[in-house]
Every structure is written in C-alpha cells, then in structure tokens.
Symmetry: C4
Subunit: 195 residues, 4 copies
C-alpha cells in the first residue's frame, strides 16, 4: 500500500492542529495598549511550547516515513491513534494557558504528551513489523533511548506537578530541547544506506 | 482523469472535519481542577466516537481509491456528496455531546451516519460504473454485506432512540467496532491481483 | 513552473472554506428537541447552497488545471485573487443565513458570487495566455457562454434583491444547477485530444 | 531528503492561516442593512492586507523551493520557525482590525512582519548552505536587495507608529506592492538554467 495519502492526511491534521491553537490568542477588543496584551502572555507561552512539540512530532513523523516503503491497514490505525492524542494538544494547551500554568492543567498537559509518546512508539513498532521489515528504520531507532527517557520524564513531570507545576514545565521544556536536536540517527542511516 | 486531486481535496476536508471537532472541547476558564472538566466528559466521549467514525471513512476511502484508476466528473460529485454529510458530523457530534446524549440528538447523529453510509455506497457504485470498470474493487466489495448491515443498524438505532438513547449509542459503538477491523477485503484482492 | 503546489494550496484553501462554514451551525445548548433546531434551518440552507457553489468551483478548477501544463507567476496571483473572493463565501453565507435571507445579505451574496465568477474568468484568461498556449483549454472554453450567462444572472439577482430577495435566491439556485452538470466540455476535449 | 512533505505541510499551514483570518469577519446578527457592516470595514481592510502578505510569502516560498533539490533536518526547523511567525499574522491582524488601526497594534503588526522577514531570510540562508549548494537560488537571490529594504521599511514603520500609525500602514502597503510584483529573479534564473 502506498504511503502517500497517509503522509498527506497526517500533514493536513498536523497543520490544522498547529494553526488552530493560535485561535486561543483572542485579541482584546477596544483595548489597544501593550499592557492589554499582558493577560495573553501565559497563553502565548503555552502556544509556543505546543508549537514546538507539534513541530517535533511532524519532523520525526516525516523522518520515520521517509525510510518506510510499505504500510498496512494496521499502520493507518496506529497513525490515527497518534493523531487522536495530538489533536487533544490544542485543548490541554488552552486549559494550561488560560489558567496561568496551574497544577492540574500542568499534569493533564503532561498526560497528553505521555499518550502521544506512547502512540508514537506504537506506530514505530507497527512500522518495524510490516511484512518485509524496515532495516533502515530498525537501525536508526536502535534501543530508542530518547523515546524511553521521554516517557520517564513525562511521568516525573506529572507527579511533580502535585508539589510544584514549575518543575513540570521545566521538564517539558527540557524534553522539547532534547528532541529539537534534529534526529540525525535517521539521516545518518539514510547516508550509510546510500553509500 | 487523474485521481490525485480528488484524494488531496478529500484528505483536506476529512483532516479539517476530524480536527475542528476538538474545538467543541472548550476548556473552562479560571477553573483549574479535575472536577471542572467533568461537564466536558460527554463532549469528549462524543468526540472520541466521531473521531473513530471519520477515521473509518478516511481509511475506507483510502482503500477504495487505492484500487481505482480512472475517475469521471460524476465521481467528483459523488465524492462531494459524501463529504457534505461527513461535514455535518461535527455539528451532530456537538449537539449530542452538549446535551449529554439526549434522545433527539441521538437520532440525528444516527441519521447523519445513515446518510454518510448511503453516500459512501453511492460513491462506490459510481466508481464501479466508471468506463473500463474496476474489477479489483468489484471483487473486494462483493455483495457488500458490511455496508448493508450498517444501514440496518443505523435505522434500528434511530428508531430505538425514541425509547432509550442508550441502545442507539451501543449500536453506534458496535458498528464502529465492526468497521474498525481493517477492511482486509481490498488488501487481499490487491495481494491476489499481484500474484 | 510546476502546477503541483498551486493545486495543493488551492485544494487546502477550498477544503477549509467548505468546512469552516459548518461552524456557523452552532448547536443550541441545553435544548435537545427537534424544534430547537428550527432557527438553524435558514443557516443550514445557506450552508447547503454555498457548499454546492464551492464544490462547483473546486470541480471546475480541477478540470481547468487538468489540461494546463505550464504556469507562471501571474497565474499564481490570478489564482490567489480567485481564492480571496471565495474566502469571503463563509462570511456572506453566515450573514445571509443568520438574517433569514434578508434583502441586503441576498445582494451581498450575489456580489461575492459575481466577483468569484469574474476572478475565475480572469484566471482562465491568464492560463490561456501562458507562453506556449493551452489549445485543449481554449477549445473547451470556446466562447464561454456558461460563464457569461452566469455574470448576467448574478447582476440580475443583485438588482432583483431590492424588490424581492426570493427572486435572487431562485437565481442563485438556478445558476448552481446549470453548473452542477459536470463540465463535459473539458472531458470531451481530453477524449478527442487522446484519440 | 525529499522536499515534498515540507511543501505539503507548509501549504497546509499557509492555507489555514490565510483562511481562518476570515473568521474574524463575524457577521452582525439580526442586522441586515449595509450600514450594519460599517464597523467591519477596518477588519476587512486588515484582512485584505494580511491576505496579500500571506499570499506573497506563499508565492515566494513556492519559487524558492522550486529551485531547491535537497533539504536537511535544519531546513525543516528553519521552515517551522517561519511558519511560527506567520501563524501569528491572524492574531496581529485581528488586534489591528478590531481597534481600527490604533498605534500599538500598528507597531505589533510591523513587528510580526519583521520577524517573518527575518525568518524567511534565515530559511533562504539555510537552503543556500545545504550540502551540494543551490547555485540557481544563489544567483536569483543575489545580494537580496528586496529583502534588506523590507527590513528597513518594517523598522521605520514600527518607529513611525509612535507618531502616526497612518505612516506605518502606508509603509506596509508599499512593501506589499513591492513584493506583489512576481519575483521574476527566480523565473529568469530557471529560464537561463534551462537554456
């Protein structure tokens, strides 16, 4: 089965997710001073963080499918499962931003990121099990240290939110930075594969 | 006529439909406890059900066009007709979720699913009648037992909502599960075709 | 210059236009009877009419670019000009639907359709003037009777809205039906071209 | 790495940005006279200006990637960085339109355009540095006079808004007109390249 439409549909959903979040930034009416924007600042920060996260997922999804040749019906659903948790990002982001980074929203944000990470790993596993295999992806993923560490970090952040949500946010930022570094594993494997 | 743009446009519309439904999940403002999310629970359940349904339609649409080579102007309109009923899914979902799964919204939800099913069957019939035919699709569809049973189920659910909407919701869930099983008919036919 | 991205971007914009109109259909909260939907009926009719119009534009745009090989920078802007007027369709539709098909909204709706028709003709002219020409499109368009008649009808509808908006709506419906018939001109030309 | 998905994702995000801005044009309810639309006029003008700007970015992005063969992980992020600032256009547009072109919104609008211009230049630089180089793009960009002048103009507009926002708007219009002229540099280079 061709992967073209899987990519196109995912691109569409991710493009919408990343863009509709900006609708939460509702400009104050009849209030045209910089100070009027101040209440929007936490909403903006939440938007920025989630933009980076969705960007990371798009970039990783792009790399992963780049080295994939064959997909199956199960892959379609593993992908939809990932898109489902990602589609909740605008919701958890809005709740977090509008409540100035309170405790429970911090935990729920982490829970959604955790589910996204699990769904991404499931999609990865499904792609590795497609008949015929995917040796380039297999070598690139390796023992998937980054993925496993992220899960540990998210769980820590959810628990930490009970005491201090600032710790949770610091962790979300840290994990984003870890992933922001382009996943050279796949690019390296592609290079070696071509040599 | 090439099918590329038909797929691209459908992917776009389906991606938007599946994503804008999440906008109904409006986070409570200045309310940052888990209990504050409780009124959103039926809205979330309705979103989940509709996400699965739109996902099923996307997956089946994907399979059906995979084995299609030629399209005509009539196919474009049969496809737009399907997209029209699917575009109403966010509306019926929102009405259902915001009224905690009441009787009439349950019936209207079923009515929209029924129209989607009929429109899908019409698109399928149109694709089978394209000059030159579509033998792989014809064999895969067969007598279309799944499609016919779904229509019977939807009608039953609409009628049942008069007595107890819980029966309707159980039926919608059941039909979703029946379709969630990937439509191996087409994948099998593709396999045999290649042998 | 390759036409792929022009088609992809147009598909994206048209898919969004056709889908966000449904957001105007806001379900009544805590009101779960069929009678509660009655005030939404004009909004629904307006949505249906505009869905058909945007569908017609998508279908015609699809046919026109099908027979186009080369595009230029001017084509990009003629296309953006068309998308601009089409992007106002959700606005004029909402105003019309929410005011139960009053006089001025009826005229403004016609004005936007008129601008869309003019912009479409301009795009068509631009495509015909691309260096190297477009003989298949030229023959398919011919004297463009359908396009010219539509403009006359729109102007009539705008003027007629002053006395009775019902006449305007009848005309919009009539023009839609005229265009709903698939534009076999292009399909026929493609057929002849291949023979 | 193939550029197809980078283009598709950018097309999706830009299509959504350009279209959701129209949602700010909320039609007045139970108000069906032309005079009722008068308060929407500045919102409409702001929409028109931003539509042209996003159109310019899409057209330039299209030209730039047309002559690009290879992309890397860094390009993905330079592109996401550009999309981030462009995604804020609907917000700054809405604030500007709803406050009838006041002073601070005029400056913020210019600031976002400035950041978009900087992000675009960064993406351009990244594409020029891709291993293997991009001689056609290099020659087309040249010393990038247009890009540098735009930055100077945006800064001037931001400063001028302190005294008179009308000057700022005149400058935004002027820069848009400068860019509206299709960027023949790239088309010319493609032509020469083919000869």
């Amino acid at each position: 089965m061709h992967k073209g439409r899987l990519e196109a549909f995912s691109d569409g959903v991710l493009a919408i997710i990343i863009t509709i979040m900006v609708l939460e930034l509702r400009p104050p009416q009849h209030a045209a001073h910089l100070a009027d924007l101040q209440p929007l600042f936490p909403v903006f920060l939440a938007y920025l963080l989630s933009f980076v996260y969705v960007g990371i997922y798009w970039s990783n999804h792009h790399h992963m499918l780049l080295v994939t040749q064959h997909i199956t019906g199960v892959v379609l659903w593993a992908n939809l499962h990932l898109l489902f948790w990602l589609s909740l990002v605008p919701f958890v982001t809005a709740w977090m931003g509008e409540n100035s980074f309170a405790r429970v929203p911090a935990a729920l944000y982490g829970f959604d990121l955790l589910m996204c990470a699990i769904a991404y790993t499931m999609l990865q596993t499904t792609l590795l099990r497609v008949p015929g295999g995917n040796p380039v992806l297999a070598r690139a993923v390796g023992r998937d240290a980054k993925g496993k560490i992220s899960v540990v970090f998210y769980v820590t952040a959810i628990v930490a939110s009970y005491w201090n949500p600032a710790i949770s946010y610091a962790i979300y930022l840290l994990v984003a930075l870890v992933w922001l570094v382009p996943d050279r594993r796949i690019e390296r494997q592609i290079g070696e594969h071509r040599d």
